[in-house]
């Protein structure tokens, strides 16, 4: 009860922002973006496989490894590309599953995700009004909620102006790192 209200050790944490556009490009199989020439080379390999009734082929050159597999039974095609330089510089290409749930019909929405592990609270104390409700307009820097971790109240602020279209977590319930808390429409203005 008053435990939360009386705790003065408040820390501000920056929330993790995952935009819809980024999330959808990450939801693929984790293959880094290919150059036009690489795509063409892969297509040539696939043609070669088909022509010779082969099922699998692997080519390695200058640190780039291409493996192509063609399964006639299932009619599926898969190509994985490993480039040591590329995979180190773009670790984000391994799509985090927690953002996968974002893909709804909420085009243009921005998700505010929890930057820490803890307990989610919508209000500063059990008796107080929630910081925000669905439909509220919020300003950049405005406190949206608290995530309590190790007896510390971490206020989560909005990184932008916009309108809260959905509250995705339930008050007093645990949240994990990267869990979606709010959907914000950044184009809405009060």
């Amino acid at each position: 009860m008053s435990k939360r209200a009386s705790n003065k050790s408040k820390k501000n944490k920056k929330p993790v922002i995952v935009s819809q556009a980024v999330a959808s490009t990450q939801s693929g199989e984790g293959s880094p973006l290919l150059s036009g020439q690489q795509t063409k080379q892969i297509q040539e390999l696939i043609d070669l496989l088909k022509k010779n009734s082969l099922t699998e082929m692997e080519i390695e050159r200058e640190g780039l490894r291409i493996r192509v597999r063609y399964e006639t039974g299932q009619r599926t095609m898969m190509a994985t590309v490993q480039d040591p330089g590329m995979s180190v510089s773009s670790p984000a290409s391994y799509a985090p599953a927690t953002t996968g749930t974002l893909i709804e019909d909420t085009t243009g929405m921005i998700t505010i995700a929890s930057p820490i592990v803890g307990t989610f609270y919508r209000s500063p104390s059990p008796d107080a009004d929630p910081y925000v409700e669905e439909g509220d307009y919020v300003k950049k820097g405005q406190v949206l909620c608290i995530v309590e971790a190790m007896k510390l109240m971490n206020e989560i602020e909005s990184e932008m102006n916009g309108r809260i279209t959905k509250i995705l977590a339930e008050s007093t319930k645990p949240v994990e790192y990267g869990q979606s808390l709010f959907l914000i429409d950044p184009t809405a203005t009060s």
């Binding site: 199989e29 493996r67 898969m78 995979s87 391994y94 820490i116 592990v117 190790m150 790192y177 990267g178």
Partner: protein, 446 residues
């Protein structure tokens, strides 16, 4: 007994701990980074908490997030596995202070034995054999020169807070010592945040022999025999066996007695490993104590029949040892091959998608792995993806079993160390048991 254990690790060791908890009737919580959200260890646990992004410093080693995960799930103990937070004295201390049991030794023991120069001093103070070297930390170049003259060249300079082969310098003659001393200090400072270094004699072609010990809070200490971990590359173990072909019954009694005395000297508890160097003339010297469960613990389990993870959990819960030294019988021979996602010749990591995975099986074969078909080997963590452990009546049988198991293992899509293990097992010197820590170097350049 604990009601719920949070497993602060990933991959095969997380799965290993979850399996032990299930057998003990304990609920489990897995933690994961965003890169591991669909991993096998996450699905095997009763609950899971994502604790951060792919970068281990922000997830698996993120103390506030790991402890918050324990708090929100109501876990009463944390098993750290190996690596990550397993030898972090600060983490163990915070666990103790918030009333979550750290499954391992006390934070004081981790800190004390983590200081390698200090540990050597304590063990030498008991009249036990340590590698000839500087009594403690080297304070100056002059002190280093004097110590090196005394022990004789070549010498190796090591970081006191070090491990994993980092911060080491081999010096062959006095002229090179000053520069190596400064370089080792600088490297120790940047790598471990502590510039303390010490030196010891550098042995040519030694064997790495270690002794598994278990200790309870009443001061009972039991050893579970030795492991020979001489097959290494870049100071990292690749293949281990027990018993060692270089250790006879008399030497075993002696080396295990020293290991037990070394941990008794500091009133150690829980499981631990005492590492020794064995020279060509069968002289052995204490090197250090590892205060965690080790990757190669499974071979000791095979020959003793003791589940070391369950024993670890029971000991952390305040139970006494369930056996005495005379109850321990070493049965047959066991071998472990570490399968890494690596190029088997260049040792460069080889992350990527495993398109097909089929593990070997049958009598005397155990595979500890969290891999499966259509699983991504992500580039953020250790490259070890599986351990094959074989058990036979004797060394010959467990080698034959390992060769058969390596032939059965199918891992497609990435390169692994399987071909290298096959070459090692076919080597006449290995088959005769004639190996040292420089075996692999010699072997690979031939």
């Amino acid at each position: 007994m604990f009601k719920k254990v949070l497993v602060a690790n990933r991959g095969e060791i997380a799965l290993r701990v979850i399996r032990a908890c299930k057998e003990l009737g304990i609920q489990t919580v897995a933690i994961c980074s965003e890169a591991d959200a669909s991993s096998l260890h996450v699905r095997a646990a009763d609950e899971k908490v994502c604790v951060g992004p792919a970068d281990a410093a922000l997830s698996y080693r993120n103390i506030p997030n790991v402890l918050s995960a324990a708090e929100i799930t109501g876990a009463d103990a944390i098993h750290p596995g190996y690596g990550f937070l397993s030898e972090n004295a600060h983490f163990a201390e915070v666990c103790e202070s918030i009333g979550v049991k750290f499954i391992g030794p006390s934070s004081e023991h981790i800190a004390l034995l983590g200081d390698k120069a200090k540990a050597r001093e304590i063990v030498a103070g008991r009249g036990l054999p340590v590698t000839p070297g500087s009594p403690g930390e080297l304070k100056s170049e002059q002190g280093a020169l004097e110590a090196a003259d005394k022990v004789g060249y070549p010498v190796i300079i090591k970081a006191s807070a070090g491990g994993g082969g980092r911060g080491m310098r081999v010096v062959n003659k006095a002229e090179d010592l000053a520069r190596a001393f400064q370089a080792a200090q600088a490297e120790a400072k940047t790598t471990f945040g502590n510039d303390a270094v010490y030196l010891e004699r550098y042995f040519l072609e030694p064997r790495h022999i270690e002794v598994q010990i278990v200790a309870d809070h009443r001061g009972h200490v039991v050893h579970l025999g030795e492991r020979d971990c001489s097959i290494q590359r870049r100071h990292q173990k690749l293949l281990e066996e027990t018993p060692s072909p270089a250790v006879n019954e008399k030497l075993r009694r002696e080396i295990c007695r020293v290991a037990v005395e070394a941990v008794k000297a500091v009133h150690y508890r829980n499981v631990g490993t005492v590492e020794f160097l064995l020279d060509k003339d069968h002289n052995f010297f204490f090197m250090e104590v590892n205060t965690r469960i080790q990757v190669e613990h499974a071979i000791t389990e095979m020959v003793t029949g003791i589940d070391l993870i369950k024993e670890q959990i029971r000991l952390a819960d305040g139970h006494s040892l369930s056996f005495k030294q005379q109850d321990i019988k070493l049965n047959g021979h066991s071998l472990e091959c570490r399968i890494n996602a690596e190029d088997p010749e260049k040792f460069t990591p080889c992350p990527g998608m495993i398109t097909k995975y089929s593990a070997p099986g049958g009598f005397g074969v155990r595979v500890d792995s969290a891999m499966e078909s259509n699983m991504m080997v992500v580039p953020f963590y250790d490259s070890m993806i599986a351990k094959i452990i074989t058990h036979g009546r004797d060394r010959q049988e467990s080698i034959a079993r390992m060769r058969r198991a390596l032939d059965e293992f199918v891992i497609e899509g990435i390169k692994t160390t399987i071909p290298l293990h096959k070459r090692i097992l076919n080597d006449p010197d290995f088959q005769k048991g004639h190996v040292s820590t420089s075996f692999l170097e010699r072997f690979l350049t031939s």
